[in-house]
Symmetry: C2
Subunit: 227 residues, 2 copies
DNA sequence: CGACTACTTGAACAAAATCAAATGGGGTGG
DNA sequence: CCACCCCATTTGATTTTGTTCAAGTAGTCG
């Protein structure tokens, strides 16, 4: 595997604590596979043969409710994995996975992973830790979604993207605005208006380019500062 | 430990696949501890010494945002556990836990659990499965919260409580309505109005007593049936 | 150049939050 | 045992927030 790809896998949430030899053993001779944008990797209800790890690009996970309105339950980027549950427990996939950009995905064979897991407590523990972290981030998201009005959710999302805690930041939105909106549980229109409201808080948006004047300001607002 | 308590522990989400001898070893001589209603078990940010398993009663987990508005991130009843992450990874608690009824809680020593986990891949695998299930239910909840209007969320909640899939049901609400409202991400007022709307769908509420005429009807509504 | 797509903006509408007040038990102290 | 108070819940009126529907703008790609 390409050294750059390998670096992503090694630093992934799932495997960052796994030592290199073991990891090589788990992955075997698999390589990331390139997918065009818009490719469906698996459907809700499918049997999944392995854990999927995003090496590059972005994948959205969504569930189709009746009436076709689909709810986005997750968007995963480089270093993040999905399908763990279904692969490990051999249960049907809980959501549909579709690439939302060109993406390269490494699938780790479930059977192989399972056997290594049985033989290696450290690995199991690491994965447990990873699952816990995932759970935790889910709780955070739940909290945001419940409590906060739109503009504040957007502020939180932008702060996360910015990466740093203070100062200014310049970056690009990772994927389409309408998808971000879905992720944040709102319509594209609401998202657009929310961004407009953040403008006088030092957030400049031009196409997908974002500039945040003072991250502290934005974070204060997110965490509940009266205007 | 009391046989009835033991039965709850054995059938708990976390340990249902663990065999009895191992489970006894993990728990050691610990006993469930009784707490009065309103007792804070630990605070957001605390160090937690063990995994908490509800034997009887109910516990709410909530996060305090600034301004005191607290968001309920989970309510756990008999057989459910919480604090797994913090105990296993020795990280600060992510939420505050408080009993909302008289409750008996068994705490499983984290250190002990960790050591058994290392020695026993099956156990680790079982816990991984449990964590995955938890994650999955979280995703469901996320989806509900995002997509559905209030009355339908309430309908879903009631269907879950009813337990069965068809026919009629009579049961009591497990805890206060205002807490249920919080759990469902709405205000008590909205919850009350939502219940009122369900009345002409065959749901009768009198104090905490609930009677559902035909669960199928309610479920249809929850899953998106036009009226 | 023209059609398509993504995004923005506006107006009308719906849902839920908020503010405020009334109801109705349950429990307490007299 | 009864009157009274406290608190959870309900109900009503109002306002905010977000959705929906509709139109307009801009950038992209053939």
């Amino acid at each position: 595997m390409d050294p750059a790809d390998w670096a992503v896998v090694r630093r992934s949430a799932m495997f960052r604590t796994t030592d290199e030899a073991k990891l090589r053993d788990i992955i075997g001779d698999r390589h990331p596979r390139a997918h065009p944008r818009g490719q469906v990797l698996f459907l809700q209800g499918d049997h999944i043969d392995g854990l999927h790890l995003v090496v590059s690009g972005w994948v959205k996970l969504y569930r189709q409710t009746e009436e076709g309105a689909d709810a986005i339950v997750g968007i995963h980027g480089p270093g993040q994995s999905f399908g763990e549950t279904a692969a490990l427990l051999a249960t049907p996939a809980h959501a549909t996975a579709e690439t939302i950009s060109e993406a390269r995905i490494l699938t780790v064979d479930a059977e192989r992973l399972r056997s290594r897991l049985g033989a290696d407590p450290d690995l199991a523990f690491a994965m447990l830790a990873s699952a816990s972290m995932h759970l935790r981030s889910m709780v955070d998201e739940l909290e945001r979604l419940k409590g906060l009005p739109g503009p504040r959710r957007v502020a939180g999302f932008l702060c996360d993207l910015a990466g740093s805690d203070a100062g200014s930041a310049v970056f690009d939105l990772p994927y389409e605005k309408s998808l971000i909106a879905g992720r944040l549980g709102m319509t594209p229109e609401s998202f657009s208006r929310a961004l407009a409201k953040l403008r006088d808080r030092g957030v400049t948006i031009e196409r997908e380019h974002v500039r945040i004047a003072r991250i502290e300001n934005l974070r204060d607002f997110f965490e509940g500062e009266a205007a």
